[in-house]
Subunit: 157 residues, 2 copies
DNA sequence: TAGCACAGTTCCAAATCAGAACTCACTCGG
DNA sequence: CCGAGTGAGTTCTGATTTGGAACTGTGCTA
């Protein structure tokens, strides 16, 4: 399978990964969420090759996740900012952070955690259904294909 | 930067990606959540090279995300199942699905959606703080490093 | 006039991946 | 007993993708 085919895959996981599913993209976006906007800064913070960074930024712009806009003329220079579509990825990032802090043991205490901007209190993210407010788990929720019946899911795992 | 260095990175995003951050891993896990457990099935459904699939399964097992257990002897054969650590990745997958269905236009209507197993009603996932019940957004929440002050975040984006 | 900054681009070598064939331990049908 | 079939891999080779380092272009500052 070629990677670009994923973009038009029926499966939303595949489509999502066609945009953010490579080794660097989510790290680039992490920096964007932290307010990093400039090429040089990203390159230095991430330790990514300039080559690859340029390529990823191009692709993220093409996907409508980042937007490139001039912050000065003479010489003309651009910075990268999250679009609404990009900001909508925040839950993915937060879920990943929560999982990693709980399950990929850092050397020592988790050194980066999520806190409320208002109160500074630590945050424990949970996914719930907007309608019912109930927590979403692999046991309570399943994927449904429009044409085909769902596979058996996790019930008897 | 070498990929394996990420594993011990202070940043939880980097640590998380050291486990699930490559081109195939999340797709493998998607199949696991759908109840697929056998090598041959995954290989066929995903269109992944047998070589790479074997490698990813090994790594996921080493990371404690999947567990490999015999389902028959003579000849001895194993299947792969999600561990608790693996199941804890569900929110990441769900967030990705929600984002892709909303922002990576599928050809036609989203053909795979999330529904409640009980009622069959569609699910709209939202991330909230377990403590306060308030929605988590890039504006209300920020990352905090234990030693350093946070970067400026999205406030004035 | 000589650096210096920023945002890239270019080139080559090294790592990773795709595709196909091969292995191994069995089972089953005739 | 022989040959085909199954499931889970492994091995090979050639193509793609990365990493690392140097180079380019435009303008600023001393």
């Amino acid at each position: 399978m070629k990677w670009n085919d994923l973009e038009s895959d029926a499966c939303p996981v595949a489509r999502g990964l066609s945009v953010v599913g490579d080794r660097w993209t989510m790290l680039v976006l992490r920096d964007c969420f932290l307010g990093i906007r400039r090429f040089e800064q990203m390159q230095e913070r991430l330790g990514i090759t300039r080559h690859i960074l340029a390529d990823r930024l191009r692709k993220l712009e093409a996907a409508g996740v980042l937007r490139r806009e001039p912050y000065q003329e003479r010489p003309l220079r651009h910075e990268y900012r999250l679009t609404e579509r990009g900001k909508a990825l925040y839950p993915v990032l937060v879920s990943l952070i929560a999982w990693a802090n709980a399950h990929v043991p850092p050397p020592g205490e988790p050194s980066v955690t999520l806190v409320s901007k208002e109160t500074g209190a630590p945050i424990a993210p949970v996914l719930v259904d907007a309608r019912t407010g109930k927590q979403i788990t692999a046991r309570s929720v399943t994927a449904q294909t429009r044409d085909a019946p769902p596979l058996r899911g996790l019930d008897q795992s």
